[in-house]
């Protein structure tokens, strides 16, 4: 069978032309159009500095961080189908996911390891951007956005820790949130707590946990921050981050 003829026949048809607004054959013009007429690809400029291709220059860490964010969004959404954020069943749901839900174990593992991998890749992305001096003018603001994204990534991972409702997550979150007790002025064990009247029932930790101990409310709050609020905030900052990469002159390269 003549595949080339078939290809030609398909790409000439109205259906194909309605989706792909450019010719198929490879030439400088279609290379430009392929990027410009595709909503996803047009995150990129049409042309980039050759340096942007070199792995030894970019380490590919920013792109991998974004890819991991996408993986986490997909696997996380799927996990939500089988998870109830209540003290009564949360732990049982994880067991159920692991031992009975089809592909549940694989899904949970992938969500967890992607989260850890994303922490690493986001650190390394910052490391690379610093080492190539890519925060220098005109990219100062995007560095600031990047630092916020790094912080948010760690908070995302941290809020996810509690959701399994096991000893590991419970104590990790207990240790983590106990720090908030010591916030000056705002925490009940911090300096000047008497001055503001901070107690275990009105301080900043209380607001984080929705109570004085890590219990049902804390689980629900962690769940909402983890699944809805923080991802939305992160998505917004990612949009700004990507937009500014282009507006600030694209990926940095020697001038």
């Amino acid at each position: 069978m003549d595949t080339d003829a078939l290809k030609k026949e398909i790409t000439k048809g109205q259906l194909w032309r309605s989706v792909m607004r450019h010719d198929v054959e490879d030439n400088p013009r279609t290379r430009v159009l392929k990027v410009m007429s595709n909503v996803f690809l047009h995150l990129h400029p049409v042309r980039i500095p050759r340096f942007g291709l070199y792995l030894k220059h970019t380490w590919c860490m920013g792109g991998l961080t974004f890819f991991l964010f996408l993986v986490l969004t997909v696997t996380g959404t799927l996990l939500m189908f089988y998870y109830h954020p209540t003290k009564e069943v949360a732990y049982a749901d994880i067991k159920y996911l692991e031992f009975d839900v089809p592909f549940g174990m694989l899904l949970r593992n992938m969500h967890r390891w992607s989260a850890h991998a994303m922490i690493i890749s986001v650190w390394l992305h910052m490391y690379r951007v610093f080492m190539t001096g890519s925060y220098k003018p005109p990219r100062e603001f995007n560095w600031v956005v990047g630092v916020l994204l790094l912080t948010l990534t760690m908070l995302l991972s941290f809020t996810g820790y509690l959701l399994t409702d096991d000893q590991l997550g419970f104590w990790a979150v207990t240790v983590g949130t106990n720090m908030a007790r010591a916030t000056p002025l705002l925490g009940h064990e911090g300096p000047f707590a008497e001055l503001t009247g901070a107690s275990p029932y009105n301080d900043i930790r209380f607001a984080m946990l929705g109570g004085s101990v890590v219990a049902g409310n804390a689980l629900l709050r962690a769940y909402i921050w983890h699944c809805i609020a923080l991802p939305l905030i992160v998505a917004m900052f990612i949009a700004v981050h990507f937009w500014r990469v282009r507006k600030d002159g694209g990926i940095s390269a020697p001038q």
Partner: protein, 300 residues
Amino acid sequence: MDQFWLIISKPDNVPIVLMLLLVGFFTWLALSEARKFDKARAEGKTVKEAAYGDEADYPERVTVWPFLVREEFLAAIAMTIFLFIWSMALDAPLEEMANPNVTPNPSKAPWYFLGLQEILVYFDPWIAGVILPNVIVVGLMVIPYIDPNPKGSGYYTFRERPLAITIFLFGFLILWVLLTAIGTFTRGPGWIWFWPWQYWDTHAVVAETNVDFSDLFFGISSGSFTGSLIGFAVIAIWFPLIMALPLIFRKGRELASEMGIVRYLVFGNLLAFMLALPLKMFLRIFLHVKYIWVTPWFNV
């Protein structure tokens, strides 16, 4: 060594081992790229020639399709394969159901916060858990605004920005990555230091009598008014001292005048914060100093 293997092979610690290997590799990569570049510059090549090396005469810009899209696609596939293998080989940890009455010893935060938890040994929680994290985040954010050096944007170099790179590497590698590793691998029950070959004995007790700064050096009780005043003086001197130190050198003065007063003050304060951490660690570990400054409301 069994204990060490036990820690390393805990599923949640695998990412740290991976992180340490990657940080090590990329540090080597960045510095070796920088060395290559600096060497080429010393031979009189232009920035572009030095950065592009053998490919200096290649066109500077390439089309995103297919070159970048192809690369991103391959990276995504490689990552997918990596994640599938990792997820099939290693199960995510799940311990017993949460029980507020049974506290594991040691209780550790998630691994990426263990650097901060390690700092808790040396500072009270309001500094280690609240002030320092905020200083770190804000400090990172202001980097582009306090670095007056226009050189070294878009390529690896050491010679063109030695100060910036040295400070960052110190902060990232020593104060963050190393402390994270210490918090993970050497801190056992009771947050006591265990060497990798030592067994994590839950009943281990380390006799440690810590004294406060003024008691140690002046024999004055840190809780007394004079003692508190001495503590305050030490801190009140530390920040201006660190800020003034670079001004002794000609290069430091040049840097300061390039930065201007506001930038220099921000830079100096952050530097003082950054150096205070290892100093306090030194004082605690070798001289058993607990607090520098004791007041009725808080201790530093």
